[in-house]
Symmetry: C2
């Protein structure tokens, strides 16, 4: 497998190309850190964007949903989809309002999703999804049974046409008179963390973590 | 103004309708808390989803970008757009893998964006955007000048066709034999917070916060 994805008409980074990347390692890291993605597709009533959870396994991105879900049924037909994943890292405060920005890492993907019919692959994906919430969680809960598996549609999207875009670091230095204005500039990091686990009302087991 | 938006064919919540809302107050609170939205639209090459910052003012959602941006130019033509905002609140760990979930608050909007040509409205939006990063920040930086304003396209999208969807609380109680399985269940809150401000290398001013 090549380390970089081909640049297509859809994944060429036109605005601020210095922020762009087509490296698989860069794209994969963003897909793996984000807990949700946004899926865009077109229905007879126009474009729709829906949030959902995902897991990357090798060079495929997987999502799932109820077999009865409108989105899952639409995408199973192999229509074009765009998936976007975004991590927001910091607020960027510049001396000028114009140079205010955010630090972020995002991936935009394109392609056609395919339904995963193979039971082993479905189980592997669902275990990986559950393991993202806590280490080895898939071994610490009752796995899906046949009825639950049948009610769950899993879709795969090849990571073949995608780009990452990243802004990091401080605000750009201002020029001319702006450089001498008496305003604070810098970044305010945005931190995502996990709070203390809260037992369900009917849970009699101590948190194992 | 009515307190609830009309339910349309696009905003009827079909899956788990008990999680849905069309109340303006519910929708506005989610739009106001989220720092970014995901914008979906259709080009000649298919659907595209792009992340961007936004501000709600009254019953309009505003976004902006470079006047040279492909997205801004596309949307300025009044094509159909779907905007999605998602806040992730907790991981939900159930006794069964099948009942694992996430607590979230999301809004999905539909409509046609319009270019904001009025300078006063553009300035009001840009000030509100900067004020989201720190209180009264728009008064503590150099405001946009005429050249910067001309280089910035602002688009408005009426909040007229939208729905919210919310999951909160613990995992659903399991039934039958599943209720007695010896697995921990509950939620792990996801917390978004701001870290300590970091001065830009050329900043000689102390953080005013």
């Amino acid at each position: 497998m090549t380390t970089s994805l081909p640049v297509t008409d859809r994944t060429k980074v036109r605005r601020k190309p210095q922020r762009g990347s087509h490296e698989r390692a860069v794209i994969n890291e963003i897909l793996d850190e984000a807990l949700i993605c946004h899926v865009g597709f077109v229905t007879e009533r126009g474009p729709v964007v829906i949030p959902t959870t995902h897991v990357r396994i090798d060079d495929q991105l997987y999502i799932h949903g109820s077999a009865a879900s409108h989105m899952l049924r639409s995408l199973s037909n192999g229509i074009e989809v765009s998936v976007c994943v975004t991590l927001l890292d910091a607020l960027v405060l510049a001396t000028t309002a114009f140079h205010h920005s955010v630090n972020y890492r995002s991936v935009v993907m394109f392609g056609r999703a395919f339904p995963v019919e193979d039971t082993a692959t479905k189980l592997t994906y669902l275990a990986a999804l559950v393991d993202r919430v806590a280490p080895n969680r898939s071994g610490a809960c009752r796995p899906p049974n046949a009825k639950e598996l049948a009610a769950t549609s899993v879709l795969g999207l090849p990571i073949a046409e995608a780009s990452a875009k990243i802004r990091s670091g401080p605000p750009l230095p201002e020029e001319g008179e702006d450089a001498d204005l008496p305003y604070w500039s810098g970044i305010i990091p945005l931190v995502s963390s996990r709070g203390a686990p809260e037992n369900a009302p009917d849970c009699k087991i101590a948190w194992p973590g």
